[in-house]
């Protein structure tokens, strides 16, 4: 029960603090799930994010639903999704049905604008962490090459991220590891 309450709190905060849609809540989810509650390791989070990006649909709820499911089963999944989406849906409904001129109020717009650079900083930190982790596991050279090649493919040639991630996943399952290759040579 305590776990479900924590799940609710974690994703309620994510939902209420993520300005700029689901993608802006990725660093917030990382803070709650990896740093604060330690439900997922950094490696697991990275895998989850990779699969999430390779699949269609909103990313915030995919992450919330998966983490909820992993920590608290079906009920945890529903709990995390409700905590992420429902409060802001209700807020939007209330504002649209009662305060139609809310949008014109200057300070409301000022508020959401001021959060954008904060999210930018949080995303920078998370990006940096991913680069550091890559450097630890792949080494500086391979990381550098993958970063440059990936950037060119995604940004210059506009290859769809889902295709690139799909190809890399396929590659790591089809290609034999060095150990296996050696075994093959010996056997033949």
């Amino acid at each position: 029960m305590m776990k479900q309450w924590k799940l609710f709190l974690a994703f309620f905060r994510v939902g209420m603090l993520g300005y700029g849609g689901g993608p802006s809540s990725i660093p917030l989810i990382h803070t709650e799930v990896v740093d604060k509650y330690k439900w997922l390791s950094k490696d697991d989070f990275s895998d989850v994010l990779a699969i999430g990006n390779a699949l269609p649909g909103p990313i915030g709820t995919k992450l919330a639903g998966y983490v909820g499911w992993r920590i608290g089963g079906i009920f945890g999944m529903l709990n995390a999704i409700i905590a992420t989406t429902l409060p802001t849906v209700i807020l939007l409904l209330l504002l649209l049905t009662t305060l139609n001129h809310f949008i014109g109020i200057g300070w409301v717009q000022g508020m959401s604008k001021a959060v954008v650079p904060v999210v930018g900083v949080m995303l920078t930190m998370l990006t940096w962490e991913f680069i550091q982790k890559s450097r630890e596991s792949l080494g500086l050279k391979t990381t550098g090459i993958l970063l440059v090649v990936g950037f060119v493919l995604l940004y210059i040639f506009n290859i769809h991220p889902a295709i690139l991630i799909g190809c890399l996943i396929g590659y790591s399952f089809i290609s034999r590891s060095k150990k296996e290759q050696k075994k093959k040579v010996k056997a033949s």
């Binding site: 409904l93 650079p117 999210v119 792949l138 790591s172």
Partner: protein, 176 residues
């Protein structure tokens, strides 16, 4: 019938939109405005503008509101379900297989080579956020807020909730 239409209107953007909720907004508009005519395009952009001023994922906010407007509370539920469920089920299925073979060298290899690509995606998103901020509040405010955010988050290790709270207050007072 209306519930089936609501389901379809949000199921398709959910299953076709890559890149998270914001990427699926034009697809939602296509269904809701062009195909079913539930909202005019001006109404749609008003709802979107208000939705963007509020926190939380955007696709579900749109689905919840439009579902409610067309089919009441159950309509809102159908809209949310159609947006979230299909991709979430796929995600849980794929990750369950992956986590079962967590210690296989192939899965480990996948984790390591996909990571730089995620870094690029996050990096591009980072750039978009700063770029939005630059066009919204200008270079000076963007730099001031960014420096303070960096100090609070990285140096003093303040929980993001408080930093975002602080930014909200700052925005309400100085950026109004």
């Amino acid at each position: 019938m209306i519930y089936w239409q609501i389901f379809l209107a949000f199921f398709l953007p959910g299953i076709l939109g890559y890149g998270g909720g914001p990427a699926s907004i034009p697809l939602i508009e296509n269904e809701v405005v062009d195909k079913y005519g539930w909202l005019t395009s001006i109404e749609f952009s008003n709802v979107l503008a208000l939705g963007n001023a509020l926190p939380g994922p955007i696709a579900t906010k749109m689905a919840g509101y439009i579902g409610y407007a067309e089919g009441g509370v159950f309509g809102a539920f159908v809209g949310l379900f159609a947006t979230i469920a299909p991709s979430l089920i796929l995600m849980i299925a794929l990750l369950s297989i992956l986590m079962k073979h967590k210690n296989s060298p192939k899965v480990k290899k996948m984790t390591t080579i996909v990571r730089p690509i995620i870094a690029i995606l996050l990096g591009i998103m980072t750039f978009d956020f700063f770029n939005n901020s630059y066009s919204g509040i200008g270079i000076t405010q963007t730099i001031i807020i960014s420096i303070f955010a960096l100090l609070f988050l990285e140096k003093w290790k303040i929980h993001p909730a408080y930093v975002i709270g602080g930014a909200l207050v700052y925005g309400a007072v100085f950026l109004a």
